[in-house]
Each structure stands twice: as structure tokens, then as C-alpha cells.
Symmetry: C2
Subunit: 334 residues, 2 copies
């Protein structure tokens, strides 16, 4: 196999103009379909573009004009399917409008977030999309100074810097507790992952406890596991919790991944769900609905969040907080 390494002089707009026998401006106008030009000119330009294999250079275009049509995502994780879902929702809209998505991953580390946001801004993106409201002072400062739009995703409990799209995790936590109480469960436990890192999970937990308090009840046991959420962590977490706090009749998990782990623990150990123990997750993942007993959970608007976030940015919407709500899935595990 032979690869051509010789410096292929990239075709420029000027060359296209020359080949088409028109001025550079005309080529630019035709290609962006902006301003006026004759059908004849259009044809000659498109013909030359085709013939020379011209690919516009958006780096140059961006520098010359104002907007970069680049949208930066600085997200905590790619392993937690929540974020790919948001990216997916945004991706479609962005693409239709000829925007490009750029991303980096913080691993739930807000210092890293600051570094990454700062690096992103060097590309002069139209907007920066972040998870939630909890950021370092430094992050907020450089973001403000940049003048670019900021969208905080998947959270509405807090103060938005500019735009925010998501739902109230706190209310989701409350709704989960209320549902379990309504079903008659009284000895409730919690299995979660690191709440300091995943502040949205923390808010759900807060909401959950609030609802319990309001009902004159309280958490009968909790197991907080270090690190990110995972099925295995949920499984081990439930095992731990049940050993330490026997007699629970329902457990709330920080999300569906954790809850699935819990479910599998029950399956393996002959714990009847929900007769012996009820399980409640969060996110409403498809897989949770495909297990033998559909998981009781809360369906969150992840794709819709990405979609709306992109739309707001593209339409230059004024600062606002868009609450997309959530939907309780009764399932069969509670």
C-alpha cells in the first residue's frame, strides 16, 4: 500500500475564484449562499469547486468573521450514559445548523473542569455546555470574561450563570420518596455513589430525605460508595446495606445503574422484589425497563435537554432556566 505523503497544497478559495473566472467575494457568497450572485456565476463556481475538490477552510472563515459555530461540551463522564445521551440530543440540532461539537471529560473533577473550560475557550466557541451548577469560582470567572454563552445542563436547583436546561433533581428525589411512602414502604434505605462529586445525585438524595422528614419519617440506613456509579457498585452497596441495616423494605438508589446492581443482588440471593424489598432507581434507562421486572424509576429528559440546550444557543435565547420535568415510572420493583 502506498501512501502519498507529499505536501498536498490545499486548494484555496482564491484558486477556485481563478478557476471559475470570478472574484473571491463571489465564490464566498455562492458557497455561503449569502448576498447576491447570478445563476451563471453560481454554476461556474460550483463547477470549479467540484473540479478542484475544494473544501472550505472554516478555521480561516471563523477568524475572518465572528462566530466559530463550535459548541464546547465539558462533561463529567462518558461512561455514565446520561452524558452521551445529552450529546446525542444536542448533536442532531447542532449538525443541522452547521455547528460542530467539541468535547472534553472532567471525570467529575471541578479543577479539571476549570482547566478544560479554559482550554476550550481558546477555540472561541459559541457556547460552553457544562453539567450542573457547581463550578469553581475560577471557572465562572473565565466563562464570564469570555462573553460566550454558557449552558448548565441537567439541573435547575441553583443559580444559573446564563442558560440552564434540565430538571429539578431535588424534586425528583422528593417524588421518589413520596412514591415509596404512598406505596406503604416505611423502612427506607439508600445506596449511592460519591455525592460530593456527583452533586446532582446529592440533590436527589437531599430531596429524598426532605420528603421523608416531611412525612415524619427518616432514612433507616444508607450506604455511600466511593467512586462513580456502576452496576457492580450498586450490587455491592446493597449487599453491604442489608447486612448493616436488616429489615429494610425499600431502597432508593442514586441512579438506575446502581439500582440494577441492587436488583441483580436480589435475584442472586433469593430476595423477592418487591415483596421482600422494593427498589427504586433514577433515569429511566431502557435497560431498566427490559429486566424481568421493569425498574421503578424516574425518566429524565436527557436527549431533550441536549436538544433544547442547542436550540437555545443557536436561537440566541435570553438567559433563562428551562425545566423539562421528569416522569415517574411505576415499574414493578416497587
Amino acid at each position: 500500500m502506498v501512501i502519498d505523503f507529499k505536501q498536498r497544497t490545499t486548494v484555496t478559495l482564491a484558486e477556485v475564484a481563478a478557476a471559475a473566472g470570478v472574484g473571491e467575494s463571489t465564490v464566498s457568497r455562492v458557497l455561503r449562499n449569502h448576498g447576491s450572485f447570478s445563476p451563471k456565476a453560481r454554476e461556474r463556481v460550483l463547477d470549479a469547486v467540484e473540479r478542484l475538490g475544494y473544501v472550505p477552510n472554516r478555521i480561516a472563515g471563523t477568524l475572518a468573521s465572528a462566530g466559530s459555530r463550535l459548541v464546547a461540551f465539558v462533561i463529567p463522564s462518558l461512561t455514565n450514559i446520561v452524558f452521551p445521551d445529552v450529546l446525542r440530543g444536542a448533536g442532531g440540532v447542532l449538525e443541522e445548523n452547521h455547528y460542530q461539537a467539541v468535547f472534553s471529560v472532567t471525570d467529575y473533577d471541578s479543577e479539571r473542569e476549570e482547566t478544560l473550560v479554559s482550554a476550550m475557550l481558546a477555540w472561541r466557541p459559541t457556547a460552553v455546555m457544562l453539567a450542573g451548577f457547581e463550578h469553581t469560582e475560577g471557572t465562572l470567572k473565565i466563562l464570564r470574561a469570555s462573553g460566550c454563552r454558557v449552558v448548565e445542563l441537567l439541573d435547575t436547583d441553583g443559580t444559573a450563570a446564563d442558560l440552564a436546561v434540565g430538571f429539578s433533581n431535588r424534586q425528583a428525589g422528593r417524588a421518589s420518596a413520596e412514591f415509596l411512602l404512598r406505596r406503604g414502604y416505611r423502612r427506607l434505605g439508600y445506596v449511592g455513589h460519591d455525592l460530593d462529586l456527583d452533586t446532582r445525585a446529592g440533590k436527589r438524595f437531599t430531596g429524598f430525605c426532605e420528603a421523608l422528614n416531611l412525612a415524619g419519617s427518616r432514612l433507616a440506613g444508607r450506604e455511600i460508595r466511593a467512586g462513580a456509579s456502576s452496576v457492580e457498585s450498586g450490587r455491592a452497596g446493597l449487599k453491604q446495606l442489608l447486612e448493616r441495616a436488616p429489615g429494610l423494605d425499600a431502597v432508593y438508589f442514586s441512579n438506575d445503574d446502581m439500582a440494577l446492581g441492587g436488583y441483580f443482588h436480589c435475584l442472586s440471593n433469593g430476595i423477592a422484589v418487591p415483596a421482600d424489598l422494593a427498589l427504586f432507581g433514577h433515569n429511566g434507562l431502557d435497560i431498566g425497563q427490559a429486566i424481568p421486572q421493569p425498574l421503578a424509576s424516574i425518566r429524565t429528559p436527557r436527549v431533550a435537554t441536549g436538544k433544547l440546550a442547542a436550540e437555545l444557543v443557536i436561537n440566541e435565547a435570553p438567559p433563562q432556566v428551562a425545566d423539562l420535568g421528569f416522569e415517574l415510572i411505576e415499574g414493578a420493583t416497587a
Copy 2:
């Protein structure tokens, strides 16, 4: 809340130079730590940068120099965790080397792939990363003409355009069949998703059938489902298959998502695994190892693929095919 909409004149390198009392070149050299400058100059520049809150403009930098330090990913899906995993692997390496990842999603449509690759090239990326070897002629043509590096991911069965990193899906399929045969299963079925779209799954299936033929055996039944893989699709697929082809003793699934669906079907319907029916997946996802009986599967080097792909590009490696292999997980479902 008040948002400052006034056109915040972005700080430029020239302003930093003026503030630091040095020339523009010196600022540029200090910031890139490239070329020579005195400690004194360095200090004054960094001080001015800090004071003015200067953020370099990489759009301009890229235009002026050669390389964009942008790596484009054009992937089939974000729902299939395989691709986020690859992105994750690449992301770390890219970030360390001050590269940025840009992506778009084809939804397994090669016409869209061509459009998206073309759009990506407008950003003059250092490399374009694609899934597999199957691309339209048009895609290959514009890629060749662009002169940028191309990495084809997660496949080694075919002809690479430039770099390729992954493993042999065909061999994975063979290994899966050989394992099942070795275990004594004889009436083998297959449940898969759309093979024309996911050509790598198709190659696994081919390899699987080859191994059966070699052993003088043949597939006893198959169910190919339209659309992308999912747990629900696997569940429904296995149900269908068992109705149509009773008496199977093992089923090979196009991937772990599908296999999990199959497992859940068995759980729901009192089919003992593996006594009544053995199940075999592909990818070795964590969740497959967290269900009551760890799923027999093949662990694929997804993160490592992303990592190596990024490294090869950054180190300007010569064209090559890197086979990272795979690992059979015996599990407990076969």
C-alpha cells in the same frame, strides 16, 4: 440577574505585548514555551497575561501555523457504549497533548458519514477517526485528497486506508463458536441486529458461521432484527427465535446488549441458563459481568483502541494496522 451583553473586546496577543512592554513575538514564544526568551521577559509576559485575563485564540494560531491539533471522530452511535468508550480512551491522550476532540454521529449511515467527514475536514483536523473499513468511495476520496491522517477503529478485517486500530471481529466470531462447540453445544442459534449497517457485527457473524462449518456443523436458527442493538431487541429476538427454532442449546448474540436481553428473557420464562440454553455475547461489558450469572462474552479493547489511535496520530506513526486482540470471558452462561 444582569447579563453583560456589551461586546467585550477580547484581549489579543498584541495587547498583552503592549502591556508587558515586549514584542508580539516574545509573547508568542513565552506562551508556547518555544524559541528563546529571557526569564525577565517571561515573567513580564505571564504577569500581563494574568492581569488582562488573556486567552490565546487557537483559531488564529492554527491558521497562522500548520496543525490544527483537532482530531475528528465520526462515529456511528453514542448509544452503543462501545463508541463513548473509544472516545474516552482517546480523550485522555489527546488532552495531555493539547489536542481537542471534535465529533459527529452517523447513525450507521454511510452517506451521512460522507457528509460529516466532509464537514469535519473544513476544520482541517490532524486526523479523522472512523469506525471500521466500510466507507463510501466518496468518503475515501475526500479523505485521501485532504492529506490528513485517517484512523479506522475497532476492525482489522479489511484494507486500511492509513492507520487502523482494533481487533479482528471475524476471529472474535470464530472464537465464540469454537468455545461453544468445545463446551459441547451443538444446536446453535444467532440473534443479531442489522448486519448491513453494523458491518463489524456482520464480520463476527461470518466468523462464527465459518467456525461452525469447519466443525462440520451449521447454524440451527437465526433471528436478525432491524435497527440498532438494544437490550429490548435482544429479548424480543430470542423470544422469536425460540418460537421458530425450538431445541436450540446455545445462542450467540451480536453483542452484550442483545445477550442481556436474551438473558432476561430466560429469567422471565424459567429457561435455565446454561442448562436449557447457553448464551454468548460480545464486548464484555461490565454490566454483563454483574448479572447473577456472569455473561460468557468476548472482552474487546475499546478504551485501549481509542488510546492507541490517539497515540499513533500524535506520534505521526507510519501507516499500519494495530491488532489489540480480545479476550474470551468464560462467564457462567455457557
